[in-house]
Amino acid sequence: VSAADDLTELYRERIWRELQQVARPDSRFHWDFSRFIADFEGSDLCAQRVLALAALRDLGDSRIFVTPDNCLEPLRAELIRRGQPFVMSTYGIVRGFLALDPADVPAGEARYAATLDGFDRYARPVLLAELARGRPFGLLVTGGSAVSRNGVRFGKGHGYFDFEFAVLSELGLVTDTAVVVDVVHDCQYVDDDLAAEAHDVPVDLVVTPTRTLRVEGPPRAPGRVHWELLPGTEFDDLEIVAELRSLDRPSTPTI
């Protein structure tokens, strides 16, 4: 365990204590923050801030990717109300990715469809092959346990979003201009620079209920799956990993 890991753990523990004051429990995981990204007071304000981003206004025909974090529920509901389709990963990526077309959601049920229980009802599974045939993702939105001044985010400690980003990158679905947004409560923002690991995806914007912060930093390196790190992890057994291995595609350039 490195010193950087210790520091991350320290922040995570401290922030989880503060988060408990403003967060909402999960329907299954109660207050166990190691198992879900919590919703919090003001997440609806975060949704409004994300909707006002230039990255969303200028999306063109690029797509939106959202993680299944509870704090993104108001954003998902608002996207559905606006008729904006998006792609979401399933919890733990166990069932891969789901795509939602708001046209499939009955009027008045946006809020229901935005929950994980409701999303399963109206979204449909998409294989990587189908995703890869579509437009790239111009906006990727995730939550997290905490995020630092230099855009290093940490989640529940599993690295799901980093892995999703890596998989989408391998499929050529993340362009250089794609914008990565982290939605957190103000208490989850760490006003300090933290060291990133090779597989960490630095974020471009941090959105809290009170602020929208642009992260200054060097351009993000292209994402890739770190195959050497997979064996023995929960990712190794994922169906999308088997599918990614089987896909016939040009190998990623080595730099």
């Binding site: 409701g118 999303f119 997979l230 064996p231 291995r245």
Partner: protein
């Protein structure tokens, strides 16, 4: 460059554990004999005593076996039934939004559930019911929705009783909010929290319906192993919200119904079993 993962051979004790589990699950559900003694198993699997002991210890740790010092090692009936039924259920179960198909964590919705549900809603007791208890099982989500749509009051425990009970009033929830109010994700936004200090304010329940991991035709409800239903029944019975006269209905797939006279320790006693194909009145359990 894609690197295929190295394969990790399972340790020997783990292979013995799995083989032993397979043998136990293949026995008749009523079989109550101890498993063969260590020397027999050492010979059968061609492994050392230490390996056999490790395999047995693992199976005892996760509840399938019970080691009785000086007597022998026995199978836990409830746990065997759970595992046998979960294997059957895998073919018809629908995934949970968090737990996927990890059936140890939740009671799943299943193919054909709507037909089982209709057998409940056709019951005179359901039609006349003003207040119903419905378990937080995924297989009951649509029944919870029907209760709300019928304007009934609905008492639901939170998952794992982590935040006690929720009381919803179908008549007070807008029509397009009801699908959300029927889910675990949504119910707490529309209902009132009921805990041990306020449970006495709830009206007596007219129908008590639950899913199950398994249920026997002599009325034994076998839950996921945490005995939440037994706790819920106890808390409600204390305050007179439920009693022995309340009809208890289990909504399950046919593959969850056990007809053999097993010696399972039930979470509660069921009067009726509704499956996609049948409505089964339970014979009272023989002690």
């Amino acid at each position: 460059v894609l690197v295929p993962p190295p394969s990790y051979p399972a340790p020997l004790y783990d292979r013995v554990r799995r083989e032993l589990e397979r043998t136990i699950l293949a026995l008749p559900l009523v079989d109550a004999s101890p498993i063969p003694p260590e020397p027999k198993l050492m010979e059968q699997f061609g492994v050392s005593r230490g390996t056999v002991r490790r395999a047995i210890a693992e199976l005892a740790d996760d509840g399938l076996l019970r080691v009785e010092q000086g007597r022998g090692t026995y199978v836990n009936h409830d746990e065997r039934i759970r595992r046998v039924v979960r294997e059957r259920l895998a073919a018809v179960a629908l995934p949970d939004s968090r737990f996927d198909l990890d059936l140890k964590q939740f009671v799943p919705d299943f193919a054909g559930r709507a037909a089982a549900e209709a057998r409940v809603t056709e019951l005179p007791a359901w039609r006349d019911a003003r207040t119903v208890f419905l378990a937080p099982d995924n297989s009951l989500e649509q029944l919870r929705l029907q209760a709300l749509e019928a304007g009934k009051k609905l008492l639901v425990p939170t998952y794992g009783m982590r935040r006690d009970f929720v009381l919803l009033d179908g008549a007070g929830i807008a029509a397009n909010d009801r699908p959300l109010a029927a889910t675990l994700d949504g119910m707490e936004r529309f209902g009132r929290r009921i805990d041990a200090t306020t449970v006495a304010s709830v009206d007596r329940v007219d129908v008590f319906a639950t899913g199950a991991t398994a249920v026997t035709t002599d009325g034994r409800h076998i839950g996921s192993g945490w005995r939440f239903l037994a706790l819920e029944w106890f808390l409600l019975e204390q305050e007179g919200i439920v009693d022995d006269a309340v009809p208890v209905v289990a909504v399950v797939h046919d593959c969850q119904v056990i007809d053999e006279p097993v010696q399972a320790d039930p979470d509660c006693i069921v009067d009726l079993i509704a499956t996609p194909t049948r409505l089964i009145p339970c014979s009272p359990p023989t002690p």
